[in-house]
Each structure stands twice: as C-alpha cells, then as structure tokens.
Amino acid sequence: MDSQTTIPATSGAFAGDLRLPKTVRVENLNHYFGEGELRKQALYSNNLEVRRGEIVIMTGPSGSGKTTLLTLIGTLRTVQEGSLKVLGNELLGADRDLTVRLRQELGFIFQAHNLFESLTAYQNVKMAAELVGLDPRIADGRIKSLLTRLGLGERVHYKPKSLSGGQKQRVAIARGLVHKPKLILADEPTAALDEQSGREVVTLFQELARDEGCTIIMVTHDNRILDVADRIVNMVDGRIKSDVAVQETSVICEFLKGFPLFSDLTPNTLSEVADKMMVHEAQPGDVVIHQGDPGELFYLIRSGSVDVLIDDGAGQKQVAQLERGQYFGEAALITEEPRNATIVAHEKSVFYALEKKDFRAVLETSATFEEELRQALFNRQ
C-alpha cells in the first residue's frame, strides 16, 4: 500500500524535486504573555517550515500572533515551549552569544522605522554594515546603491527629520538589507509606502530571494503585494490556520479543473478543495487501489504515473496508464460501489488525495453538480 502522510498537498513540500534546506523550522511552538494569573497563551502549538529562498507572507487579523511568531523567529523574544530552529540553530534555551551572532545574519524591517534622529540616512544604514564588519568601501557602495534603488539617491545625507514617512521607512528597509542577511523578517514593510515604492521594495525582495537565496518572512495586510508570496500563512487566534504554497495550490487547482465535475467550481472553492488534500507517496509496484475494495479516497497524480488494471474474471489486464495531472478513484466515491479497477504505481509517484467525505461535500455544494456528474459518468461508458 502507499504511504500516507500528514503533509497537506498545498504545503508545497513535494512541489519540486529540489528539497531545499530549511531556513526556519517551527515545531509545537507555544508562547505565553504575562505571569501568574494574567498569563495568557498567544501561540498554540504552531508548526511551520520555511525553505531557503522562499518568500512567505503571514496574514491574519490583528492579535492573531503573527508578529509574535515573527519576533520569536527573529530571536527578539525568548522561546518558551516547543522547538524553533533558525538557520540550523535551536533557539529554545539558546544563550546570548548565539542569539547575538544569529541576529547579525538576520535582517529586520519593523513597522516603525526606528531610525536615529541624530544620524543621517547614510549613517543609519551604515550602523548595520559596521556591525557585520563589512569592508567600508564595499559598505559605502552598497549603502549608496540600496538607497538609490529605493529612490533616496538624492537624500543619502538627509537626517530623518527631513524625510517623509515613506522615505524613512525605505531607509529602514535599506538598513535591514545592507548586510546581505540570510533571512529577512519584515513587519508591514510596505504599510507606509505608496504603491510604486511598495512595488519596488517587494521586487527587491524577490531579487534577493532569487539571486542570493535569501529567505523572506513578511507580515502584511497589504494585498497589493500578495503576488510575490511563494507561500501564504494565515493565522487566527494564535494558530496557523492555513499554510499554503501559492504556486502549488495553483497547480493543484489547474489539475482539479481538468476533472469535468470540478470544472465549474470557482477558484475559491477549488483552493478550498486543494487545502483538504493530503500527500501520498508510492514506490514502483505499490498497489494504490485494489479492485473490489470499498472506495475511500480520490487521487490526483502530482508526479509519476500509474497503471490501471482490471480483472474481468479471466485475469488482470492493463487498460490504461495515467500520468501527472490525471486522477483516479472517483467512481467508487460517487457510486458508493467497490473499486472497479486496481491501480499500481508504475514508477515513484506522488499523489494528492481527497477523503470521501470531503469529496462528497464538494459535490453536494450544488444540486446541479450531481446531475452533471451522472451525465459525465454516463458519457464515459
């Protein structure tokens, strides 16, 4: 039998063949605020993995724990319970030296710009370059090119007092990026920016992710920049409600659309279906479905291929081969009859599977649906 996992299909864990190292790994993370009777839990056993070069957008209502999680990842809070690994270092019980060292590899962009009023834009950015011991000449070039890139070329030597809110925010962004951090943590980085400079900032983020393998985790409510996200994490009440690889979800939706019964579903419903699918893996020769068994799951082939075998009493006969993007196992779920064929993995394959109850729930969302379905099945025969 195939190996069932608890990994959601939309997590993107099996999206590419490349399994990039994890920049951040959150496991069973709890966090509390306050002491004694006032102690209040802010995060409830959160799990999250972020790979190198990914851009993750965290959303959710205010007070849902996004910023708390972000600051925990950034070593700005002490980890209390669970495990949190950043760039390979466990932060639970980490000593001060480790956190100080680690912080130098991170780039922070805060909601407030927090610039020193006494220093010029250039000097504020330079504070970050000095810390990591960047060669002054290289630093000088980087500071100037970053500030120029962010539209502040004319204002390099201005003090924050003479800069607008958006300009100050861009200086703070330059400060967060100048030392080429491996992980950028940004809290509403574009909140104070107009559309154009916000776009410039996220384009810069994308370049850093693509060219330098920089990982970016960003808390934002700014839906203008959602398109840059590789992954969108939604938090509600201290829990990660959904953690979705955008690219993978759209791939799944595209596949699902190829299934006639689902072709009329709205993108919204499709992505909800995608959310409910789980990853299954199979080695060559593994039997995924036995003819005659009761139907439990609906399968979508993410990668690899399977052979469809039917035993008509006179022996097993291969009737078809199904490939990436195709699906199987739907008939038994619709007709409530036993499996009408055996499916064997032809090579190492990955499937996304939807449980019967979820499958039926989708079907029942519209009355016309079942009708269409029967029509479709009828046409098939």
Binding site: L76, V100, R103, Q104, F108, N114, S118, E130
Partner: protein, 399 residues
C-alpha cells in the same frame, strides 16, 4: 566624508549633540550637581584650612601644646619652662612661645568719642627676634611692632565687626581703636583669615601682649604661660629624631607634635568631635545623590526616548558590550563637559563666599580631582542604571 566612512559612526556623540536644548539642560543639571559638591567640599576644606591656617603660617617643625588643649581655640596653656627645656635639647635651632587670647581680647573702634560695643578678636603675641611666621609680609613689618601699643591687623577680619580701612595703612594707623579697653595703634595689615572660632586676628610683640592681657595668669607673669610652643629643628638634624628626644625630655603634661600630627589633631577635632564633619559628609552625599538623580534623569530619558532605536540595534545583533561602552562614553562626555561650567561657577561661588565670610575657599587639585571623580562616577553609575532595562529585556518588548 572619507574619514567618516572609514571610522565607526560616533553614535554617543551624535545622540548627545543632536538636540542642543536637551544637551544644555543636561549640562546645566550636571553643572549644578558639580556646584553642589564643590560648595560642600569647599566649605569643609575652608573650615579645616581656616582652622589650621595659624599652624600652616607658623615656621617650625615641632609644636608643643597643653594636653588639655583639645583645639586651637581652647584657651589651655602650659608653663613657659617647657620652652626652655625644649630649647636645651640637642638639634633644636630655636624654641619660642606663641601667646594667644580671644575672650578678653575685645577690639573696639572709637568714632566721635564713642565706641561701638566691641567684638572679640584673636590676639597673637610672639617674640620679635624669632622668624616665627612664614609670611614675608609679616617679616617685613616685624620692626614696626617694637613700638609700644601697636599691632598688625588681619585685613580679612570680618568687616562688619571691625569696620577699619584695611586697604590704607595711613588711614588705618589714624583710626582710633581700643583693645581690652586700652588704646591701640594699628600699624599695618597681614593676611590670615577668619575661622569658625575667630572673626579676626591681631599680631603684636610679646611685650605688648603682656601689657594688654596682664591678667591671663592670675598671679604672676602673663608670659609665663604659653599657648603654643614652636620648635625649629637644626637643618642637620632629623625632625623625627628631635621629636623623639623632646617626647622623652618634656613632661607628660604637654603634647609634642610634628607639624602633620598637629594639623591632623586639629582637623580631627573639627571633623569628629564636632557635628561639622558629619554635616559636611552628609552635604557631600546629598550633593552626590542630587547629581546622580539629575544625571539619571538626563541619561535615562535619553535612553527611554530612543528605546525603539536602541532595541533595533539590539535586534540587529549589537552586543551588551557595545551598549555599555556607548553609555559609558555618553556619561563620560556629559561628566567632563558638564564639569567645566560647574567648576567655573564654583570658582565664582568660592570667591564670592570668600569675600563674604573671610573663609579660605580654595579650589585645590585634591578637591577638583575628588569632584571630577564623583561626577564621572555618578554619570556612569546613573548611565548604567538607566541602561539596565535595555540590556535585560528581549528586544521585542522594547518597541
């Protein structure tokens, strides 16, 4: 610009000088604390220095006083014979008595035939043939003191009690004064200063002294009892050796003290046996604490106002050591820059108080060093107190 790019950003300096209003307030605060401490130190030094000014002005290496004389102002005397005994000891160049009188030494200024009520003044009598005083001014005027009924007056004597034309010798000798109800001519002035027991000084020959105070010994020669015996050691002898010999030779009713012992004994009396030492200690502590509170306020509010920025630095990976160094540099800059105006103001205060009180308000290098050290200590201590929160808290809690 090139220099700026090569060196580290001088954040402490930039933060201090960024807001000049805040800087001025800070400096005024610290200068005030410096002034407070200087005034306390100054008063205490003035008290002690003034109390021992007579000793300091006397030539001589070893001093003899009655065992009952717990302070210079106590009118306890010893027999003249001790001076003779000291004189006969080997290594003694000379030994001479100093006579002093306060309670019966009332100086009155007579104007238009009427005298004011008169105030006590310390009269000092000495033998003119001995170079007893270090002051060149006194040595120069010694010959004038040979005449009967003449004396020199301390021009720092309290002007309210002794309103005499100190600046004009001619006018001074013309003014008619009475000492212990006998006519006195003032033939010149010298510089000694008042202290807490004495509002002024007169200096005269032993013979004149005997004339004005014949009753200081109930029966017999008024010069047969001595207030202070001064011994000068021959240059070829060691003071310590002669001191030992005198200790052995002289009877146990007198103290035989080296100059330092005499100074220490007198200062110890004022410091420990009167409430004065404690009062000034409290004054210094209060000055220090007030200064500390001011510094703490200044530095704390500076850190508190920039807490998000500092927290950002901490989040970037700046270490505890960096922040401590930053605050110490900031505190040192404040201490030194605040110390200068504070010291200038104190110099002004000293000279004003010196004129007003006749006390010796001196800014010697010990008190300057003491106040500077205290200022630096209070600035850095309050800086470190103020920075504790930044060091202890998670950066996320500081925004």
């Amino acid at each position: 610009m090139t220099v700026n790019q090569k060196s580290k950003t001088p954040l402490a300096w930039k933060n201090l000088t960024h807001d000049w209003r805040r800087l001025v307030v800070a400096l005024v605060g610290i200068a005030f604390a410096v002034l407070l401490m200087f005034s306390q130190v100054g008063f205490q030094n003035a008290l002690f220095d003034s109390q021992v000014k007579l000793i300091a002005d006397l030539e001589g290496d070893i001093f003899i006083v009655s065992k009952a004389k717990f302070t210079l102002a106590a009118e306890k005397r010893f027999a003249f014979v001790r001076i003779h005994q000291a004189q006969s000891c080997p290594g003694v160049l000379w030994a001479t008595p100093v006579y002093s009188e306060l309670t019966t030494s009332v100086l009155r200024k007579i104007e238009h035939g009427k005298g004011n009520r008169g105030y006590p003044i310390r009269s000092i009598g000495f033998h003119l043939d001995v170079p007893l005083f270090k002051s060149k001014e006194i040595q120069r005027q010694t010959r004038r003191l040979h005449a009967p009924a003449v004396a020199l007056i301390d021009r720092n004597s309290k002007p309210k009690k002794f309103p005499l034309p100190m600046k004009n010798d001619q006018a001074l000798s013309g003014s008619s004064v009475e000492l212990a109800s006998q006519k006195l001519t003032l033939v010149g002035t010298f510089d000694m200063g008042t202290d807490f027991a004495n509002d002024g000084n007169l200096m005269m020959s032993a013979e004149n002294f005997a004339r004005y105070f014949p009753h200081r010994k109930r029966f017999g020669d008024p010069l047969s009892i001595v207030d202070i015996g001064v011994v000068k050691v021959q240059p070829t002898y060691s003071i310590n050796d002669v001191h030992k010999v005198l200790l052995k030779t002289l009877s146990k009713d007198v103290f035989v003290l080296t100059r330092q012992e005499f100074l220490d004994k007198e200062i110890l009396f004022w410091d420990k046996s009167t409430p004065i030492g404690t009062i000034f200690l409290a004054g210094k502590i209060i000055g220090f604490v007030v200064g500390m509170v001011i510094c703490y306020q200044v530095i704390y509010s500076d850190i508190a106002d920039h807490m998000p920025e500092f927290a950002t630095l901490k989040a970037m990976g700046y270490s505890t050591r960096y922040f401590i160094a930053l605050i110490v540099v900031e505190a040192l800059l404040l201490a030194i820059v605040g110390f200068l105006p504070g010291t200038l103001a104190s110099v002004g205060l000293y000279s004003w108080l010196g004129v007003q009180t006749g006390l010796l308000m001196q800014m010697d290098r010990y008190s300057v060093a003491f106040v500077l050290a205290a200022t630096i200590l209070m600035c850095t201590a309050s800086g470190l107190l103020a920075v504790r929160k930044l060091l202890a808290a998670d950066p996320a809690n500081l925004f």
